[in-house]
Amino acid sequence: MSEMTRRSFLSTAWKVGFGLLAAAGVVTTFDLLKPHLAAGFDAIVRTVAPDAVPTTGVLEVRDARGYLVKVDDDVLAFSEVCTHLGCRVPYVDENGRFECPCHGSKFTREGDYIEGPAPRGMDEYATEVVDGVIEIDTTEVIAGPAPGSERT
């Protein structure tokens, strides 16, 4: 390493100084703008008794922005947010499946991927029965199954 003169030290030092200042600015701005909200809409959403979930068709839960579906006695809670680009996916009664209006992704009633540009099946929320009522935990989204595979 060549010897550092006073001149080259100073000329490096002010550049480093400005570099650090810029970095601090970026970090501060980022921290300032980063949202500090919990994901999900309302954390835990209390819904209905498991018996009230239909075995055909779906039950929409507006507060959780999702659907409750009964598949072989199991209750599943789907997020109605399309896994493609976030449009609301309505359930179409006539053909018994979910169809997204935005770019035409389609999902089965069980939330599995059928066709369209979505990268995976419909996302899910964890559910729990508390005091005989289903509670949907919207704080965490469980990613849907990849195309071709079914959820277990």
């Binding site: 449009c87 169809e99 209006p101 540009p117």
Partner: protein, 173 residues
């Protein structure tokens, strides 16, 4: 009186002699008669152009109202859902390809390609006949993009299915 200092030539002081080209480089400097004064020649044209643009905007604004749909509602997605027209081509691609391709790679490549264009195309000629490759490539891109924009804007209806604009109109401005 003779000046003893060799740097004074005539009445002028010589500041230095540098090797190489004149500051303008190899470029031809336009002859005086090939140029015109900006005031008034260019300014008056710009003023007229500005007037024309303002009149056009005023006329459109007088006869066509800006759209305002129902208030935003997170629980209903309109069907079809349309992006602004300048993103209609992207939306059309989004319906066909994985979002990483259509939403990130394609727009990224277009912007980077435009930025890099002057560094890729090093052909100095301005003669259209001598830059056919560049012109063809650019034209093909433009035609494709305009076609995709028109398809996404006018030819897509419910559930993003094909419609004829003269039968059902779904364009949104």
């Amino acid at each position: 009186m003779l000046d003893p200092d060799p740097r004074i030539i005539g009445d002028k002081r010589l500041l230095g002699v540098v090797p190489g080209k004149p500051p303008i480089g190899d470029r031809k400097q336009p002859a005086e008669e090939d140029t015109v004064m900006v005031w008034p020649n260019l300014l008056v044209r710009h003023a007229v152009a500005a007037l024309v643009v303002i009149v056009i905007v005023v006329l459109i604004a007088m006869f066509f109202d800006a759209p305002l749909r129902e208030i935003a509602n997170p629980t209903i997605t309109p069907n079809p859902e349309k992006a602004p027209w300048y993103f209609a081509a992207l939306q059309e691609l989004l319906a066909l390809f994985h979002p990483l391709v259509a939403g990130v790679l394609v727009p990224g490549a277009i912007i980077m390609g435009l930025v890099a264009l002057p560094y890729i195309d090093r052909n100095p000629s301005l003669d259209p006949r001598k830059r056919q490759i560049a012109r063809t490539a650019f034209t093909v891109f433009m035609v494709l993009w305009i076609a995709l924009t028109l398809i996404g804007f006018m030819f897509r209806g419910e559930n993003w299915s094909w419609v004829w604009p003269w039968e059902e109109w779904h364009g949104e401005l």
